[in-house]
Symmetry: C2
Subunit: 253 residues, 2 copies
């Protein structure tokens, strides 16, 4: 029996990026896709405790089943593993995301939320993102890197409790210089909201923002991407700052 690969994303089940990932994943095993019905960009690690979820079957076969769910990407992972995968997935993939999930964007990303959730649930998982937000983005330059990394992880596994956050520069494949394993650059978004006035005179605020990168030295994901490399960040579901524990013990214990 071929290995089973579970796929989700945050751009929605019909996005061009997830179709590209489905095609590559089928070279490695049978595929189940459970992805949000609609765009869930920015949904991070959110879950849906307050209402029930529905699932629409798009197609079903031994080789490729596709389901659309009205929950978040994290809901999709949990629900698919428990009710829609015919056997335990050998690998969980998310993406290919339309737009970057590098550096601080990993916090907001529904795609990476799903990857981190898969890790929490004990699966090996990889998130793929292309640095192009367009719904019509061309994912062909991603293919050799997606293929290489999936093949490596299926053969060699990943360190315990670690998933991969893979970002791919928006360049023709011949101009991509290779892969760099990186840490998350220290970045943030400023000028977050634009204030506007609606047609009947009341204010509203719409999320926007400028990306600020304070760290462009070699070793960070933003450096790699700006220099034409695919960035791979080993990512784990632990926010603890271990260095600070000792310092704070002297203050509180």
């Amino acid at each position: 029996m071929r290995p089973l690969i579970l796929i989700t994303n945050d751009d929605g089940v019909a996005a061009k990026g997830v179709l590209a990932l489905e095609a590559i994943a089928q070279e490695f095993g049978d595929v189940v896709v459970m992805a949000p019905e609609v765009n869930n960009s920015g949904q991070s690690h959110s879950i849906t405790p307050s209402r029930p979820l529905r699932v629409r079957t798009v197609k079903e076969s031994d080789e490729l089943s596709v389901y659309a769910c009205d929950g978040t990407p994290v809901d999709c992972v949990k629900l698919a593993v428990e009710y829609f995968c015919p056997r335990r997935p050998a690998l969980v993939l998310a993406g290919i995301n339309h737009g970057s999930n590098s550096s601080i964007n990993v916090l907001y990303s529904g795609t990476m939320g799903a990857v981190v959730e898969a890790t929490v649930c004990g699966f090996e998982a990889i998130g793929f993102s292309l640095l192009n937000h367009s719904v019509n983005a061309d994912f062909s330059s991603c293919e050799p890197f997606v293929r290489t990394i999936i093949a490596d992880v299926m053969e060699n596994g990943l360190p315990d409790n670690v998933s991969l956050n893979v970002n791919i520069p928006n360049l023709p494949v011949g101009q991509i210089k290779g892969i760099r394993v990186c840490h998350e650059a220290k970045t943030y978004w400023r000028d977050s909201f634009e204030k506007r006035i609606d047609p009947i005179g009341r204010p509203y605020w719409w999320l926007t923002g400028k990306f600020v990168c304070d760290e462009l030295q070699e070793g960070s994901d933003e450096w790699a991407l700006q220099n034409g490399f695919v960035s791979v960040v080993p990512t784990h579901p632990d926010f603890t700052n271990y260095q600070a524990i000792k310092q704070l013990r002297s203050r509180y214990e």
Copy 2:
């Protein structure tokens, strides 16, 4: 001029826990509250790119202004800092949450999403949670610990890029043994969804789950809480697993 303290939560602007935190925070400075109109539990670090946000003024004065927003806790922090705080906050607080945000729950928590966002934006920030989900929870046992930790952080600051995730056991104050500075225990939720059939025969799935803790040795937050201590986890907005970088370099570069 007194320091300004910004408060948010994920249980909503009218929750008992945020009212308790407002009362304590006013001992230390002027307070701006910007909290979600409705419950945002489980909203993690999510943001709202797809629609505009509205804000309702609940009350406004130099000492205490309260605003309700129809976005997420992370939206609340970004919007309040940019448009509703009369000056730069000296401190950002979130909570007091109705229910635990210890260990893996930090990933799903809207309260801790807001705290981590405040850190990303360069503010010192603390999230407080009581291990009692009830809307009528009694927050009086939290008060001395909330007061101690706010006073300490306002006097001594926090390590760079670090916020605090504070969880308080649901015990009478006399039975709480003190504070422990901890790392996140390795935990997860299993049996995530319950499948049911609606009145017209169609299936739906509702989020549930059992909390599983594989790690109860001293030093973890779950150990501290189960042994009657307040847990304080120094938390940073970086998912990078630094140990794995070297190992993966030999495979990909």
